[in-house]
């Protein structure tokens, strides 16, 4: 098949985005048929992507055209699968939410595909400038998606807030790239690391500054302390499916790029960051926990708790130069664990709120299990997984992160993460307690359990459970071991020549 086969996923999504943009001019197509077309492109991309899943390779497709700016390796295939599933899930979950009377039009799906395209490009870029372009494609599409319902002032505010702050962080990225280029005369991942080796005898202080600016962009995008202020308002102000999309996919893409950058190039610079990152982690955990405890709205609670999960992920990130493979594979595993749980939780909430405009506070869920037992069960599964209780994929994810931290000697971080987990039990279990332990339901007009979204969310719930207990007993079914092996292969593929 040649080089084209490695670019097919990217092409399908990119072409799909353009096609949808053109189609949205014709008013004859209904929004659901446009959604179907979008879904078709995403599924095609997913299939062509899954073809290389778990196969150890690293290819620079069309090197004479792209000069090695775009790479396809086991690592990118793994993350592209997550991103594509995320985009597909967003459409399926929002199936009843995206309606014309809510001012959703065909362009929305075009933007969704553009954003996915940007994220996939980010995962696949092997050069800082193309990474910047990819990041901006993804971000700009997201800004518009957030503010798409222009009749709602909260949407517009969230969009504007994210736009201003996000652009600032993008500028920092660009400036960081310039500084790195000034110091090393290259922007290609892999080459930067070679130039920074102590043997070259260069003054690398500019590069350190540049890399730190890029780190700040990274910390901003994953909403780590002290750059977390936008998170709650933006998540809360966005339409729920878009919050779900942001929470589950964007973080994955940004982490994927940063992991690649640090693993390949910044081994020496990372030492300068250790103290800084440890402070960032502890404050992220503490502040995120504090925020989550203070929330009364479920969407805001999930947004705040996503900050705590960022803290967990950063723990593995900080130990990456000490234990390499197991740290990055634990990040890769945790990302998929968080992706599934958050997607499920946000998705279910957005389904519940799809018929009427609810604030979705904790109080609204009093006695919910008596009206919708299966939905309550699913929501409980997602909460348990986010809390990291055994039997869910969240537990295995935390197991890797914490054991990696101890392995790398960061027992203090592991202990503070355990404390954060302990407190998180409260705000996750509170929802379960409210759903089950109160007699009279208050939520009215909850959509019944039928149609596409609940089935899909049910699958996610099963995946969450399977990820926590699954093993090789049942043949032909991916087990925990399989995912870990793929995660390790992905890490290894970074260093192939």
């Amino acid at each position: 098949m040649g080089d084209i086969s490695y670019l097919l996923p990217l092409l399908f999504v990119g072409v799909g985005a353009v096609v949808l943009m053109l189609l949205s001019y014709t008013k004859s197509l209904s929004i659901s048929s446009i959604a179907k077309i979008a879904l078709g492109f995403l599924v095609l991309a997913f299939i062509s992507n899954v073809y290389y899943f778990g196969e150890l390779h690293k290819v620079y497709p069309y090197e004479n055209v792209f000069f090695g700016m775009i790479v396809s390796d086991t690592y990118s295939v793994y993350f592209n699968s997550i991103l594509l599933v995320g985009a597909i899930a967003t459409i399926l979950i929002g199936w009843d939410y995206f309606r014309p009377d809510r001012r959703f039009t065909g362009e929305f799906f075009s933007l969704l595909l553009f954003s996915t395209f940007g994220m996939m490009l980010l995962v696949q870029s092997a050069e800082l400038l193309s990474a910047f372009i990819a990041l901006e494609i993804a971000s700009l599409s997201l800004y518009v998606m957030i503010g798409f319902q222009t009749d709602n002032i909260r949407r517009v505010e969230a969009s504007y807030r994210y736009l201003v702050l996000g652009s600032l962080s993008g500028v920092l990225f660009l400036f960081g790239t310039a500084l790195i280029y000034a110091s090393t005369k290259t922007t290609f991942l892999g080459n930067i690391g070679v130039e920074l080796l102590p043997q070259t005898g260069k003054d690398i202080s500019l590069a350190i500054g540049g890399a730190t600016l890029i780190l700040i962009t990274f910390l901003f995008k994953i909403s780590a302390f002290p750059f977390q202020n936008w998170t709650i308002d933006v998540y809360d102000g966005s339409p729920l499916p878009v919050s779900a999309y942001m929470a589950s996919t964007f973080k994955v893409a940004v982490f994927a790029f940063m992991l690649r950058f640090v693993a390949m190039d910044l081994g020496y610079i990372k030492d300068y960051w250790d103290g800084l990152l440890m402070g960032v982690i502890i404050l992220t955990l503490a502040y995120g926990t504090f925020l989550a405890l203070a929330q009364n709205n479920l969407k805001r609670m999930l947004a705040s708790s996503s900050i705590v999960h960022t803290g967990y992920l950063l723990i593995a990130f900080v130990s990456i130069d000490i234990i390499g493979e197991s740290a990055s594979s634990s990040i890769i595993y945790y990302l998929i664990a968080y992706f599934l749980s958050a997607m499920g939780a946000f998705g279910l909430i957005s389904y519940i709120s799809s018929s009427d405009k609810l604030r979705l506070t904790y109080e609204d869920f009093k006695g919910f299990s008596h009206v919708r037992p299966y939905m309550s069960a699913m929501l409980s599964i997602f909460m348990l997984s986010l809390a990291g209780l055994p039997g869910t994929i969240g537990f295995i994810g935390k197991f890797y992160i914490f054991s990696g931290a101890i392995e790398a000697g960061y027992t203090v971080l592991a202990t503070s993460a355990i404390l954060a987990t302990f407190i998180s039990i409260y705000y996750y279990f509170k929802l379960i307690a409210l759903m089950y332990f109160y007699p009279s339901p208050i939520l009215s007009n909850v959509p019944p359990l039928k149609g596409l979204p609940p089935i899909f969310i049910g699958f996610i719930a099963i995946a969450v459970l399977w990820g926590g207990i699954g093993n090789t007993f049942i043949a032909f079914f991916p087990s925990i071991d399989f995912l870990i092996d793929v995660a390790k292969l992905s890490h290894r593929s970074l260093f192939l020549q």
Binding site: I406, A414, T415, F422, F429, A433
Partner: protein, 492 residues
Amino acid sequence: MEIGILSVIIFLPMIVSFTLLILPFGVYVTKVVSFSISLVVLFLALSIYSDFQPIGTMQFREFFPWIKSYGIHYSLGIDGFSLTILMLIAIIIPCAYLMLWDGDEPKSYWASMLLIQSGICGTLFSLDLILFYFFWEAMLLPVFMIIGLFGSGNRIYSTLKVTVYTMFGSLFMFVCILYLGVSYYYEFGVWSFELSDIVNITSIRDGYRVFLFVGFMLAFAIKIPLFPFHTWLLETYSNAPTGGVFIFSSIMAKLGVYGILRFVLPIFPDIFVLSAPYFVGIGVFGLIYFGIAAIMQYNIKKMFAYSSASHLGFIVAGVFSLNMYGMSGSVFLIVAHAMATGGLFLLVGVMERNMGIKAISALGGIAKKAPFFTVYFAIMMFCIVGLPSTNGFVSELLIILGIFKFNYIVGIVSTLTVLVAASFMLWMFQRAILQDSDNDVSKMVDLGKKEILALFPLSVLIFVMGIYPDWFLAKIEPTIQHYLFDILKVGM
């Protein structure tokens, strides 16, 4: 792949429970199915009991890889300790089901009970630390449900409190487990969380080992509960439904002691020996403290809660007395106490159902209204206070002998406490049950056929174990000898 008998005992109740929840059966069918499942488990446990060889090693092993890349195994096995507790659970759970039969709880109550049974058995058989933690935490969820859904009073608050409290302990234990696994990896180059591997670790510095020891002990001390980690106890016991109290007092508390014996003792034998005086002290202090607290209570359920905690302190003191008498006495008391306290809480549950009150002063004169109730209440009570010819007597005597061997002053103190506590309990019995009073107890109904049948085996066992203790001690003695000689190396 062959499914072993231990796996069947763990997963049969769980599968049945989920099936019952999904299928639209009524409460009656659920009760019948739950009860028959508990009988099946009893039958399986009896077959294990008869095949069990009285030697010190693990038997009925099941060993499959679970997460290979981290050396986590699905590893099951039992020895004398776990066998004793398994038999206990297998016998008292069907009895408890019969006692709870006439309550008006819906089927999710019964499904939760089955799930708890699964979790308990899984905890009991696991020999892999991660698997153990898995069941240890998984067990919490149905307990959470059962108190929150069917409790009384400020149930939601007490549910969250007990969950958060126990989670606090177990999460620190989780870090300690991970630390042990990582240390094993650094020392031997492969990952393993298997208990028989973990005990070989030598590379951890002594200071860290004390931290790890404390981490494990914290989790177990909260579950038992040992002084001063008992503050969840009172609310949970008074707000939980009868079944929940029964599970807490007679089984889950014992699992804390079991955890100490199974994991803390082999992994940290030297620290175990060194810290023994402190824990004997804490245990005996708990015995006295909770004993006094029990006397002060006006509410019969709260009184039993404290008296239960008092005995658990005594059990822990016996475990840490580092000799044959104390340890076998503790294992024996685990069984005796589970039967007696379990029985008492179930009886109090019956009383509550009939009369709706729990204050001791409002009772009195029940003996005439309910003779069967009184007889059973008396038997359980005698067992608790350790009257001769009950198994309570045998076990308390053994523990006292063990503590005397450890330190005779502590021995004298604990003997006196047991005697005084016994007299107070009997006084309460006289006031609440026997004595005539002006209180209106007309609503009290005597036990029905099912309940009489339910408590009969327990009562018989209390006497049989009290009169012929050697039959039962023979099964556990080799295990205790193995622990004392081979692991702790303290001799007799």
